[in-house]
Amino acid sequence: MIHLQWPVMLAAVLAGLGVYGVIARRNAVLVLIGVELILNAANLLLVTAGSRPDAPLAAGSVVTLFVVTIAAAEISIALAVILVMFRRFGHIDLTAVPDLTKGAPEHTERDPTDRTDPAALAAEEVSEP
């Protein structure tokens, strides 16, 4: 016997933590960690619902597996985007104000001495006509 209020409460807590993580973090990778928490809260809800005896078609388990798969696809794309962002802008700070007029944020010049920084190089190249 298990009372289902515990997994439901845990899912709610995880979702709240995930939302907090998404908004409160500056680092894009850490934002992704929040997203993972939200996804897992959803998974937990699915599993909880699927553990009831009247759940049809093994839906809880199957859909959870699907969500896990989708999460894998999502995180691979997201990390690719983050890497590209890092290469172009030299940072992955989501609170930074991008300079929309030039196509590259002002943070690119944050470390002008670092000539080996690929992002700085990229920014210079992009700013050329």
């Binding site: 298990i2 289902l4 939302v19 850490l30 599993v47 553990s51 989708i70 696809a73 794309i77």
Partner: protein, 173 residues
């Protein structure tokens, strides 16, 4: 409180605490490691709930692949060791984040607790066996399953293409 309840509460508290640390620690790498703990203990929750297959997949995919990917990403971007003062957004943003997080928690709890939170299930005889899951996947759910394989392929190609954008631009200039 049955035995399963107690076990679940214990594992759940570990999950929640590690989740909290994952989103609040000032060490960049620690955040990923706390996530590892969180997801791993969540796999334990699944097992407590009688879904062994899902728990194992959780371990394999999340703990084994996704967290590793996150760690790689942290290493490829700037991930200094030690506490970082600017890892978090400004204070007002964190307050907003806390409010929204609490609201989300309240919302999910309010929406789901009355629906399935009042029930209790007997898990001593497995509700869903792995064989049932297998036959469901390759029976009822076969088309979504096949679509998911396409999705994974697209994600693979997409990730490759996204990273190629920068390389192509660099080589052109």
């Amino acid at each position: 409180m049955t035995t399963r309840d107690i076990v679940f509460v214990v594992v759940g508290v570990i999950t929640a605490l590690s989740g909290l640390l994952a989103v609040s620690t000032r060490h960049v790498v620690h955040a990923a490691l706390w996530l590892l703990v969180c997801l791993g203990s969540l796999a334990g929750c699944y097992i407590v709930l009688g879904q062994e297959l899902v728990g194992i997949v959780q371990l394999l995919v999340y703990v084994g692949a996704i967290v590793v990917l996150v760690l790689f990403a942290l290493m490829l971007t700037r991930a200094p060791i030690g506490p970082q003062p600017d890892i978090d957004a400004p204070v007002w943003q964190r307050v907003v984040a806390a409010l929204l997080g609490a609201a989300t928690t309240a919302l999910v709890a309010a929406a789901t607790l009355p629906v399935i939170g009042q029930q209790s299930v007997d898990l001593d005889t497995p509700v869903v066996t792995t064989q049932q899951i297998a036959s469901a996947i390759f029976g009822t759910w076969v088309w979504p399953f096949e679509l998911l394989s396409v999705l994974l392929l697209v994600a693979l190609v997409g990730a490759f293409a996204v990273s190629r954008v920068v390389l192509a631009r660099r080589s052109r200039s």
